[in-house]
């Protein structure tokens, strides 16, 4: 089991990092031939950075769009962010004081995360329009994330595992040593689902995370009259004139 999980985590990490890097390389390499910011749009680069910040941190467009989806989605993402930060303590020794400070919040953020996910999943059944657009993979993705959250919460609050040993396992992995993992079904489930999530990330809708930064309607400066914007493939037409 120790060896299996070690291999899985190494493979998943390679797939996750390599996959996302490849996607970003693809997005970067694909030109945006025309200026298409959704206006009104910022007229300066600083303005665009601020717009992107508001989108990524506060989900501004979603807030304007639908308060239910915004509230549930934001709850889930903020919960997930805190939980992830809290989990850094299992990969670092000594633990950074910021991570230590987050610890109490991170513990309860797990509930926020699970509640947000449950709400989003409920919408997929209860709202006719969203039921119509949902594919099996949409449901499975929510099930996977909720499974990770619930098994994590169970280990934290109900059936504890030997967390010191878990930390030793991951610290070991980072220096290519395989230390024993506690034999705990909840832990196996939790880690197994995390591995699965890491593997599907670069080939699924989870790509919205890097994707949002490359969305031309959000990341372009609104200055088409002031600067000439020309993609390489479009510049070729000019030679003919």
């Amino acid at each position: 089991m120790n060896l299996l999980f070690a291999i899985l985590f190494y493979a998943a990490t390679v797939i996750l990092v390599g996959g996302i890097a490849y996607r970003i390389y693809e997005y970067l390499g694909t030109p945006a031939p025309l200026k298409i910011p959704t206006t009104p749009a910022p007229t300066t680069t600083g303005g665009v950075a601020f717009r992107m910040f508001r989108e990524v941190v506060f989900f501004e467009s979603l807030f304007k769009s639908n308060l239910w989806i915004w509230a549930l989605g934001w709850l889930f993402h903020v919960g997930l962010a805190l939980v992830l930060l809290r989990h850094l303590r299992y990969f670092t020794e000594p633990v950074n004081f910021i991570i230590a400070f987050i610890q109490p919040f991170g513990m309860y953020a797990g509930f926020a995360m699970a509640a947000g996910l449950a709400g989003l999943w409920a919408r997929r059944f209860l709202v006719e329009r969203i039921r119509y657009i949902s594919t099996p993979s949409d449901h499975l993705m929510l099930a996977l994330l909720l499974g990770i959250a619930v098994t994590g919460l169970l280990m934290k609050f109900v059936m504890h595992t030997d967390i010191v040993a878990v930390k030793a396992f991951f610290l070991g992995l980072m220096v290519f040593e395989i230390n024993p993992l506690p034999a705990h079904p909840g832990l196996y489930l939790h880690l197994g689902m995390v591995v699965l999530l890491m593997i599907v990330f670069p080939v699924s809708k989870l790509l919205h995370a890097p994707g949002v930064f490359f969305s031309p309607t959000r990341n372009q400066v609104d200055n088409p009259r002031e600067t000439r914007h020309l993609a390489p493939w479009a510049a070729k037409f000019e030679a003919k004139n």
């Binding site: 945006a32 119509y132 657009i133 099996p136 002031e226």
Partner: protein, 531 residues
């Protein structure tokens, strides 16, 4: 009337005599919603909405295969791959959607029809399902799981139906947390369909006319000259001022490029009269061009870069030939988006170039002005400079509201700051009239609803769709008609004007209720020779 851009009769009769009674009889405006609730899904309710397929001659005149080509399935998939490599928007938007549902109730066509395939995400999924099948690993391995589909005739038919039920208005992109713009997907789908020989008759016919004759209406030079002379006589008679409507005048300061509907159709022509009066009152020499007698650019509607560039190049050529210092665009929504956002890229009309192609033109144009400028920017600048005088009472019979046209609102700008495109037309209206009321803020500015006729859908065979798609705008209008007695809806788009003229009667309004901002300017402006 096969062609919607042909002049619209000013007759009071609400509907023209139906050509095909059985088909026309069923076009009925949907009921207003008491409260803007979200319609229940009506599966396949718009599955019969089929635009006319372009004949071979129309496809070929624009450089596409005449009819559906042999092996179109593979060719369509290959074309999709090509576009994925050329457009970052498409590349990212195919991956990024999480099916959150935020966009599902934002499309005017969904609100008006209840057909779930008119929900923006479902419209995108018509293509995304094919993308997933051929260009993603899970779609290749587990198509059912991720909703991936083979490129079949059924899929293609759905594309033709439902991508021709999107007016590319971008309202959904305002509300998407990732800014996914369905217009980009629709344009890509149309580009793919055209590349395999499945074109929309209305759009391709018009593009053909632009190339052959110079404008969408197919008005040849002499007819244009006649029309403009007639306008000069009319204005002289009305006002006593010798306002000129010059054509192909070399050395004029301003080249005005305007939608060809302005030359002929009601109420468009009243705005053209207004532009002339503004230039006259300000003492600016200007000209129209017979070569570039069309601001509209239907190349955008079919997502074809080459066509869009070719159509826009007419304006560059005309500007070089006529030696003008400024290029100004008349009241046309998508034309202004193309002009504002794309002309610098396509033709070098703009500033900030470092290549010889663009510098040649940019040297000629006056850098003290924004190139191109919108006619509303010109008029507002003149008003602020105190160079225009108005008799506001002349508009007192009107209680006015303003309909933001989608391409101006969400795809362009006016003036120096983000949102100038909302304020400048309203400022002008307030400067020339005493009674102005805004519609509900959920339906104006960047949240404005499309008129229902944009994106190349302004054709008679899609009338049912157009009437239904106008529902949210008509609801907002109806509210201020009831509450404030509004009797005039100003707009700065030729398509909006033509569409509303046609659909207002279905909702019990007079077609003359819609008009241009410069129609209002025209009514109130004081010309030298008057008094």
């Amino acid at each position: 009337m096969a062609d919607e851009t042909t002049p619209v009769a000013v007759a009071p009769a609400p509907t023209p005599a139906p050509a095909k009674p059985a088909e026309k009889a069923k076009v009925v405006a949907p009921a207003y919603r008491d409260y803007p609730n979200i319609p229940a899904l009506k599966i396949d309710s718009m599955a019969d909405s089929n635009p006319y397929v372009a004949a071979a001659v129309h496809n070929e005149s624009v450089g596409f295969p005449g009819t559906l080509v042999e092996g179109w399935e593979q060719k369509a998939v290959a074309k999709m791959g090509e576009l994925l490599g050329k457009y970052r928007s498409l590349r990212v938007y195919m991956d990024a959607c999480v099916h959150c549902g935020a966009c599902t109730d934002k499309c005017h066509y969904f609100i008006g029809t209840g057909d779930p395939k008119n929900m923006p995400v479902a419209r995108q999924d018509l293509m995304r399902s094919v993308y997933r099948r051929y260009y993603t690993l899970p779609g290749k391995l587990f198509p059912k799981l991720v909703g991936a589909r083979d490129m079949t005739k059924d899929v293609l038919d759905d594309w033709f139906r439902y991508y021709n039920q999107c007016s590319e208005c971008r309202r959904c992109s305002v509300f998407c947390p990732y800014g996914i713009d369905t217009a980009e997907v629709t344009m890509a789908a149309k580009e793919i369909m055209h590349s395999v020989g499945l074109g929309h008759k209305y759009v391709n016919e018009i593009i053909g006319k632009v190339h052959k004759i110079g404008n969408n209406l197919g008005l040849p030079g002499p007819a244009l000259e006649n029309t403009l002379e007639g306008l000069e006589e009319d204005v002289l008679e009305d006002t006593g001022a010798a306002v000129k409507y010059p054509l192909d005048q070399k050395g004029a300061e301003v080249l005005l490029v305007t939608p060809s509907a302005d030359f002929f159709a009601e109420p468009h022509v009243d705005s053209l009269i207004g532009y002339g009066k503004v230039f006259h009152a300000a003492g600016i020499s200007w000209t129209l061009s017979s070569k570039a007698s069309e601001a509209g650019n239907f190349g955008m509607f079919i997502g074809n870069y080459e066509q869009m560039k070719k159509i826009a190049m007419r304006v560059r050529e005309a500007a070089l030939e006529l030696g003008v210092k400024r290029i100004v665009v008349g009241e046309c929504g998508h034309a202004w988006r193309v002009a504002y956002a794309f002309w610098n890229t396509l033709t070098g009309i703009g500033a900030g170039a470092d290549d010889p192609f663009a510098i040649q033109l940019q040297k000629q144009l006056d850098p003290n002005y924004k190139q191109p400028s919108h006619i509303c920017e010109v008029t507002w600048d003149l008003i602020q400079a105190g160079r225009l005088k108005f008799n506001k009472e002349a508009n007192d019979h009107r209680i006015i509201t303003f309909h933001d046209s989608c391409n101006v609102a969400r795809g362009s700008r006016m003036g120096d700051y983000a949102g100038g495109q909302f304020d400048i037309p309203r400022n002008i209206i307030r400067a020339v009239a005493n009674h102005y009321v805004d519609m509900s803020e959920a339906t104006t500015r960047e949240k404005t609803f499309c008129c229902g006729g944009g994106g190349g859908l302004l054709t008679d065979e899609l009338l049912d769709l157009r009437v239904k798609g106008a529902l949210p705008r008509m609801e907002a209008l109806n509210r201020i008609v009831q509450d404030n007695g509004v009797n005039f809806m100003a707009t700065i788009c030729a398509i909006c004007k033509a569409q509303f003229t046609k659909v207002l009667p279905y909702y019990g309004f007079k077609m003359s209720m819609v008009g241009g901002v410069h129609q209002l300017v025209s009514t109130a402006i004081v010309l030298d020779n008057e008094q």
